[in-house]
C-alpha cells in the first residue's frame, strides 16, 4: 500500500463522466477566484499531510520489522527439535503384490520368514512345543497374531479351535509344528484343519513335521508334511517355500460407519487378529459400554492402575469387564504394560485408554515386583490429588458392582487407621462357601486381586523400602510380611467382586487354576447395597463378632468336620466350631480343615484374631481357634476343640489332585 501512486490515466476518465455537474461547479468557482485559490492551497496542504503520514508509517513499519529480526533467539528455541525429527519408518511393501513365505518345521526348530524377514524363530530347548500359528494381513503382509498351541497337552487344541475360528476370513494362516503337535489334537481340531483345506493336518501323527500356508476360507497356498518313521524318532525337517498373492486393501477391510470409535476399531483390526467379533464386519461387538453411572460415586476420582504383562487376550477380556462395571471412569484408568509389547498396547488403544510401557528390569518375581512399584509410583504421579488407587491385574474379571462396592466402603480406609487395604477378593469365597453379597469381613491377610491402596501407606511406608531388584521377592508376599502389614487388616466382601481367570502366568498353571480359582464365587448382581458398613471399623467389628458368637449354635464336635453332615441341613442359621490352635501361628488343624472343605489351604488366609467366617449349606459358619483366639472364651467348657492330624510329610504336592 505504500507504493500507491495516483495514476494519471484515471483522471480524464472520471472527469468526462461527471462533466455536467462539473461544468456548473466550474463556472461558480471561476467567479470566486479567492475561494478557488483557497481550495487549491487546501488540497496541496492535504496532499502534504498524506505524504508525511505515509512516510511515518513506512518508518514505523521498518522499525517494527527490524525489531522483530533482532530477536531471533526464540525462533531458534522452537527449532531445536528439528534435527531430531525421525524419518517415518517405511516397510518395504510398495507396489509388490506377492509375499514370499518360508516355513520350516522340525523337531527342535521352527521358523517363518516373510519376504526374507524372520517373523518367528524358535529353537529354544524344552519350550515352544506344539503347533505355531501365524496370521498375516492379506493386504499388507503384516503379522497380526502369533500363537503357539501345545497340542501335545490336553485342552490346548480347544484353544486353537477357538482361536482359528476367530480369525477373519481371507487372512493368511501359517502353521508349523515343533517337536510334537498331535498327541492331544482331537477330532474337532482336525475337522477344522480339514475345513481350511489342509491335507496333512487332519492326519497329523506322532512326531510328524508339518508346514502349512493357506488363506482362511480360501485356497491352500502350500503344504509340506513328513511322517515320523518310528515312535522314537521324528519326521524329517520340512521347508515350505511359497508365494502368497496379496489382495487389495479394500478387500481386507470392513466398512464400518465413520465414527471415532470405528476408527479405533479399524486401527486395531487391521493390526491384530484373534479377538473375535470385535472385528466382525457385519455385527461388531461394541467397544464402548457406557454402564449406568453410580449415584453418589465416591470412587469416581480414584485412579485405577491395571498391571499387565504380555497377555493381550487376557487384557482384552479384563478391560471389557472393567469398562462395563457401573460407575467406571475411563479417564482414570492407566494400563501399565511390563515390557515393550505392541499387542497389549493395541488393546489399550482400542478402548481409548492410557497405556504405559515399562522397560523390563530384573527377572521373574523381582521383575513383577519392580513393575508394580513403577506402576504405583506413576499412578500417584499422574494423579497427584488422589488419596487412593485401585490396583487391578490383567487376568481379572471385574464385577458389575465393583465400583459400587468400593464406593460404599472406601470411607473406612480413610477413617480407620487399623486398615491396610480394601480388597475385592475373598480367598475363601468359593461357590460352596460364600453366600451373602451384602456382607463384609475384616481379615488379617492381604488378598490382592483387585484392591485399594491408600496413598499415604504407599508413599510413607511401602515405596521407600520396596524390595530392590536384587531381592527376588514376590511383591504380594512382601506386603503380607508382618514388618509391612504391622497388624493392620483388610476389608473383603463375602462374595468376591473380582474373578481370577488367568491360567497362564508366572505362578499359575492349568491344574493350579482349576483347583484353587475356578470355583470361586463371583458377584453378578448389580447395585448390591452393603450391610452395616460402619460395623467393619475396628471396635465396632469386635462388638459384631461377639454378637455373632453369642447367637451362634455350637456344632456337634463329635462329628467329623470334613463330613457334609457336620452342619445340619438348615438355612440362615449361624453355627460355630472350635478347633485346636495352640499359638497365634499354629494353623495345623485349620489347614487340614481347609483342605477337606476344598478351600484355600496353601497358606492361612481370611483369619481375624483366630476366627474364620464362611458359609456352609447357606448357614454362616464360624471357626474359632482355641485357645489362641481371644474369642476362645465363648467356647462352652464341655466342648473339646477339634484336632486334625496333618498328613505325613512326603505328600508334597498341593491339594490339587483332590479337587479335580
Amino acid at each position: 500500500m505504500d507504493d500507491w501512486k495516483p495514476s494519471p490515466l484515471i483522471k480524464p476518465f472520471g472527469a468526462r463522466k461527471k462533466r455536467s455537474w462539473y461544468l456548473t461547479w466550474k463556472y461558480k468557482l471561476t467567479n470566486q477566484r479567492a475561494l478557488r485559490r483557497f481550495c487549491q492551497t487546501g488540497a496541496v496542504l492535504f496532499l502534504l499531510v498524506t505524504v508525511i503520514v505515509n512516510i511515518k508509517l513506512i518508518l514505523d513499519t521498518r522499525r517494527a520489522i527490524s525489531e522483530a529480526n533482532e530477536d531471533p533467539e526464540p525462533e531458534k528455541d522452537y527449532d531445536e527439535a528439528l534435527g531430531r525429527l525421525e524419518s517415518p519408518r517405511r516397510r518395504g511393501s510398495g507396489p509388490r503384490r506377492v509375499l514370499d513365505v518360508e516355513v520350516y518345521s522340525s523337531r527342535s526348530k521352527v521358523y517363518v520368514a516373510v519376504d526374507g524377514t524372520t517373523v518367528l524363530e524358535d529353537e529354544a530347548r524344552e519350550q515352544g512345543r506344539g503347533i505355531h500359528v501365524i496370521v498375516l494381513n492379506q493386504a499388507t503382509g503384516h503379522v497380526m497374531a502369533k500363537r503357539v498351541f501345545d497340542t501335545y497337552s490336553p485342552h490346548e487344541d480347544e484353544a486353537m479351535v477357538l482361536f482359528l475360528n476367530m480369525v477373519a476370513p481371507g487372512r493368511v494362516l501359517i502353521c508349523t509344528v515343533k517337536d510334537e503337535g498331535s498327541f492331544h489334537l482331537k477330532d474337532t481340531a482336525k475337522a477344522l484343519l480339514r475345513s481350511l483345506g489342509s491335507q496333512a493336518g487332519p492326519a497329523l501323527g506322532w512326531r510328524d513335521t508339518w508346514a502349512f500356508v493357506g488363506r482362511k476360507g480360501g485356497p491352500v497356498l502350500g503344504e509340506k508334511h513328513s511322517k515320523s518313521p518310528a515312535l522314537s524318532s521324528w519326521g524329517d525337517p520340512v521347508l515350505l517355500k511359497t508365494d502368497v498373492p496379496l489382495s487389495s486393501a479394500e478387500e481386507a477391510e470392513c466398512h464400518w460407519a465413520d465414527t471415532e470409535l470405528n476408527r479405533r476399531r479399524h486401527r486395531f483390526c487391521s493390526k491384530v487378529e484373534g479377538y473375535g467379533s470385535v472385528c466382525s464386519c457385519k455385527d461388531p461387538t461394541p467397544i464402548e459400554f457406557s454402564p449406568d453411572p453410580l449415584p453418589d460415586n465416591k470412587v469416581f476420582n480414584v485412579p485405577v492402575a491395571v498391571i499387565a504383562g504380555n497377555r493381550p487376550n487376557y487384557l482384552y477380556r479384563m478391560l471389557r469387564s472393567l469398562l462395563s462395571a457401573q460407575g467406571v471412569s475411563p479417564q482414570m484408568i492407566t494400563v501399565f504394560i511390563d515390557g515393550y509389547y505392541e499387542e497389549p498396547m493395541d488393546v489399550v488403544a482400542l478402548f481409548g485408554l492410557r497405556g504405559i510401557q515399562h522397560t523390563p528390569i530384573s527377572i521373574k518375581n523381582a521383575r513383577v515386583s519392580q513393575h508394580y512399584k513403577a506402576s504405583l509410583t506413576a499412578t500417584f504421579n499422574l494423579f497427584p490429588e488422589a488419596k487412593f488407587a485401585v490396583v487391578l491385574e490383567e487376568d481379572l474379571d471385574i464385577a458389575v458392582d465393583f465400583f459400587s462396592f468400593l464406593s460404599q466402603s472406601i470411607h473406612l480406609l480413610e477413617e480407620d487407621d487399623s486398615l491396610y487395604c480394601i480388597s475385592a477378593w475373598n480367598d475363601q469365597g468359593y461357590e460352596h462357601t460364600a453366600e451373602d453379597p451384602a456382607l463384609l469381613y475384616r481379615v488379617e491377610t492381604m488378598p490382592g486381586l483387585g484392591w485399594v491402596l491408600r496413598k499415604s501407606l504407599y508413599k510413607e511406608e511401602l515405596e521407600p523400602k520396596w524390595p530392590t531388584p536384587e531381592k527376588l521377592w514376590d511383591w504380594d508376599m512382601w506386603m503380607r510380611m508382618p514388618e509391612q502389614r504391622r497388624g493392620r487388616e483388610c476389608i473383603i466382601p463375602d462374595i468376591s467382586r473380582s474373578y481370577h481367570f488367568g491360567i497362564v502366568g508366572l505362578n499359575m498353571n492349568g491344574y493350579f487354576h482349576e483347583a484353587y480359582f475356578k470355583k470361586h464365587k463371583f458377584n453378578t448382581v448389580p447395585g448390591v447395597q452393603l450391610r452395616n458398613v460402619d460395623s467393619l471399623k475396628k471396635e465396632a467389628y469386635e462388638v459384631e463378632v461377639h454378637r455373632l458368637l453369642s447367637e451362634a449354635e455350637v456344632l456337634d464336635h463329635s462329628k467329623n468336620p470334613c463330613e457334609d453332615s457336620f452342619l445340619p441341613d438348615t438355612e440362615g442359621h449361624t453355627y460355630v466350631a472350635f478347633i485346636r490352635m495352640e499359638k497365634d501361628d499354629d494353623f495345623t488343624t485349620w489347614t487340614q480343615l481347609a483342605k477337606c472343605l476344598h478351600i484355600w489351604d496353601l497358606d492361612v488366609r481370611g483369619n481375624h484374631r483366630g476366627l474364620w467366617r464362611l458359609f456352609r449349606k447357606r448357614n454362616h459358619f464360624l471357626v474359632v481357634g482355641v485357645p489362641a483366639s481371644p474369642y476362645s472364651m465363648k467356647k462352652p467348657p464341655s466342648i473339646t476343640p477339634i484336632f486334625l492330624e496333618p498328613p505325613p510329610k512326603e505328600e508334597g504336592a498341593p491339594g490339587a489332585a483332590e479337587q479335580t
Binding site: 500507491w4 495516483p6 484515471i10 483522471k11 472520471g14 472527469a15 462539473y22 466550474k26 468557482l29 478557488r36 481550495c39 487549491q40 487546501g42 488540497a43 496541496v44 492535504f46 496532499l47 499531510v49 498524506t50 503520514v53 505515509n54 508509517l57 514505523d60 517494527a64 530477536d71 526464540p74 525462533e75 528455541d77 522452537y78 527449532d79 531445536e80 527439535a81 528439528l82 525429527l85 471415532e260 479417564q331 501399565f336 481409548g352 492410557r354 497405556g355 504405559i356 510401557q357 515399562h358 522397560t359 528390569i361 513403577a374 509410583t377 506413576a378 500417584f380 504421579n381 499422574l382 494423579f383 497427584p384 490429588e385 508413599k459 510413607e460 521407600p464 523400602k465 530392590t468
Partner: protein, 461 residues
C-alpha cells in the same frame, strides 16, 4: 482549459488522498494500540464492535468448549489485565447487558486459554468437531514429565498445546497438567520438524517459551462482552505469577546415572533422615509461603536436587536461600509458631544475615540471606567462637520453579553455575566430610565482627 485540468487533477487527487488518508489513519491507530497493548479509547470500542474477528473467534471457541465439556479457563494476560482493572464493574455487570465490546475485541494476535487436563473427559472427539466448526488446529505433544522420574517407563504422549485459528485470529490453548505438589504445569512449546512454522507467529505467544508452573487457581465464572468465561478468582495473583512461572525439570536421567555409580543409601537412618528433612522442608515452605517470602533451595539441598533429584542423606540439614530485600522481621516468630525454635542467628539485616532453626529429629534448617552487588550475589557466614566473617560469592542468578520431594519449590535457573560456584567442577563426586569455612569453592574471609557488635550478630540459643 489548462487551468480547468489542473483543478480537476487537484480535486481528484485531494479526494483520493483523503480517502487514502482515512484508511491509513484507521490502520495506524489499530497498529499503535496493538503495540501499546491496553490503550483502548471509548470511541474505538464502539468502532470495533461485536463483529471483530477476535470476538467472533473467541465466541466460537467458547461455544465449542462448552458444548464439548472442555474444561478451559481464560489466562490471556492482556485480557486478564483489563478485567483486573475493571474488576468491580465486571463483577457487577449483569449478563448480556454489555453494550460495547471492551475485552475480547482488543486487538491482539492470540487469546490464551488454559485447559485443565485432569478434568477432561472426551479428548478424542473434540479435535474433529473443532475442525468441523472451521478451526484449523495444531496439536503439540510430548512425553509426560511425570513419568520421567520413574525408571524406565514410557507412556503415550500427552498434549501440551493446542493452537486453533479461525479467520485470522488464533486461540492458544495451554494444557495444564496436575503435578505432585498441588500445582499445575504446562510444557514447552517445541515445534517439531513437520509443523508449519508460519502457522501462527509463534514467537508472539505468551506461554510456551519455557515450561511453566502455577499455583492451582480457584476459578470463577464471569460474563464479559456477552460471553461466559471462567477466569482465575484472583486474576492479579495469576498475572503476577506469569513472569516468574518458568519451570525446570529435575535431571532424572543424570540422577539415575549417578545412582548407578554411587548406589543409593537405603539404610534405615538414611530413610529416616530423608523423611524428616522432607517434612521440615514442607513445613518451612508452608510457613514462608504464608509470609509471602520467596526462597530457593541452596547449598546441599540444591546439590541434592540437581545431582540426584533427592535429599542427600548425610547432609544433616536443609538449606534455603532468601534475598535480603524479601526479609521480613516476623520470619523468626512465624517459624517459632510453626514449631521450629531459633537455634542461632548470625549477622544482621545489613550484613551477612543467617538464621538457623531446630527441626525435629535433630535436622536443622539453615536460611541464608543473599545480598546483591552489581556483578554478583553473596551470602555471609560467621564463626561463633572467633567472630570471623566469611563471604560466599555466586554469579548472578534468577529463580525458576521445580519439583522436589512432591513440592513446588524454587531453585536458581542457572543451577550449574550456582552449584559450580559453591562446590567446584567436581560436584558430581559425593563428599561426606564438609567444612563450611574451608570446603566451599567460593568462600572468602570477610574480616571479623567488632567485639562490640557480638551480642547482636552472634546469637546462640
Amino acid at each position: 482549459m489548462s487551468r480547468i485540468n489542473k483543478n480537476v487533477i487537484l480535486a481528484l487527487l485531494t479526494l483520493t488522498s483523503s480517502a487514502f488518508l482515512l484508511f491509513q489513519l484507521y490502520y495506524y491507530k489499530h497498529y499503535l494500540s496493538a503495540k501499546n497493548g491496553a490503550g483502548l479509547s471509548k470511541s474505538k470500542g464502539s468502532r470495533i464492535g461485536f463483529d471483530g474477528t477476535q470476538w467472533r473467534t473467541v465466541k466460537k471457541f467458547i461455544m465449542l468448549t462448552s458444548s464439548q465439556n472442555v474444561p478451559v479457563f481464560l489466562i490471556d494476560p492482556l485480557i486478564l489485565e483489563l478485567i483486573n482493572k475493571n474488576f468491580e464493574q465486571v463483577k457487577n455487570a449483569s449478563h448480556g447487558s454489555a453494550s460495547e465490546c471492551k475485552f475480547f475485541c482488543v486487538p491482539r494476535d492470540f487469546t490464551a486459554f488454559a485447559l485443565q487436563y485432569h478434568l477432561w473427559k472426551n479428548e478424542e472427539g473434540w479435535f474433529r468437531i473443532a475442525e468441523n466448526m472451521g478451526f484449523q488446529c495444531l496439536k503439540i505433544e510430548s512425553k509426560d514429565p511425570r513419568l520421567d522420574g520413574i525408571d524406565s517407563l514410557s507412556g503415550t504422549e500427552i498434549p501440551l498445546h493446542y493452537i486453533c485459528t479461525l479467520a485470522s485470529h488464533a486461540v492458544h490453548l495451554v494444557v495444564f497438567h496436575e503435578r505432585s505438589g498441588n500445582y499445575l504445569w504446562h510444557g514447552h512449546l517445541r515445534l517439531k520438524g513437520h509443523i508449519d512454522r508460519k502457522f501462527v507467529p509463534f514467537r508472539k505467544l505468551q506461554f510456551g517459551r519455557y515450561p511453566g508452573a502455577f499455583d492451582r487457581p480457584e476459578l470463577q465464572q464471569i460474563t464479559i462482552d456477552g460471553l461466559e468465561v471462567l477466569i482465575p478468582k484472583d486474576p492479579m495473583h495469576f498475572l503476577e505469577e506469569i513472569p516468574h512461572s518458568r519451570f525446570i525439570e529435575c535431571r532424572y536421567k543424570e540422577a539415575r546415572a549417578f545412582f548407578q555409580q554411587y548406589l543409593d543409601d537405603n539404610t534405615v537412618e538414611a530413610m529416616a533422615f530423608r523423611k524428616s528433612a522432607k517434612e521440615l522442608l514442607q513445613l518451612a515452605a508452608k510457613t514462608l509461603k504464608k509470609l509471602g517470602v520467596r526462597f530457593w533451595l541452596s547449598s546441599g539441598t540444591c546439590l541434592g536436587w540437581y545431582r540426584q533429584c533427592g535429599i542427600i542423606p548425610y547432609s544433616k540439614d536443609v538449606d534455603l536461600g532468601i534475598f535480603i530485600q524479601d526479609y521480613k522481621s516476623d520470619i523468626i516468630s512465624a517459624f517459632q509458631d510453626a514449631g521450629l525454635p531459633l537455634k542461632h542467628k548470625f549477622g544482621k539485616v545489613e550484613d551477612s544475615l543467617e538464621l538457623s532453626f531446630q527441626g525435629k529429629d535433630d535436622v536443622k534448617l539453615d536460611i541464608f540471606f543473599f545480598y546483591e552487588e552489581t556483578d554478583h550475589m553473596w551470602n555471609g557466614g560467621t564463626q561463633a567462637k572467633t567472630g570471623k566473617k566469611f563471604k560466599y560469592l555466586f554469579p548472578k542468578f534468577t529463580l525458576c520453579w521445580t519439583e522436589f520431594v512432591d513440592m513446588k519449590v524454587r531453585v536458581p535457573c542457572e543451577t550449574i553455575e550456582y552449584i559450580e560456584a559453591n562446590y567446584g567442577k567436581t560436584w558430581k563426586v559425593p563428599v561426606r566430610t564438609w567444612d563450611w569455612k574451608r570446603s566451599p569453592h567460593n568462600v572468602q574471609p570477610n574480616g571479623v565482627w567488632p567485639i562490640s557488635e557480638w551480642d547482636e550478630v552472634i546469637q546462640l540459643y
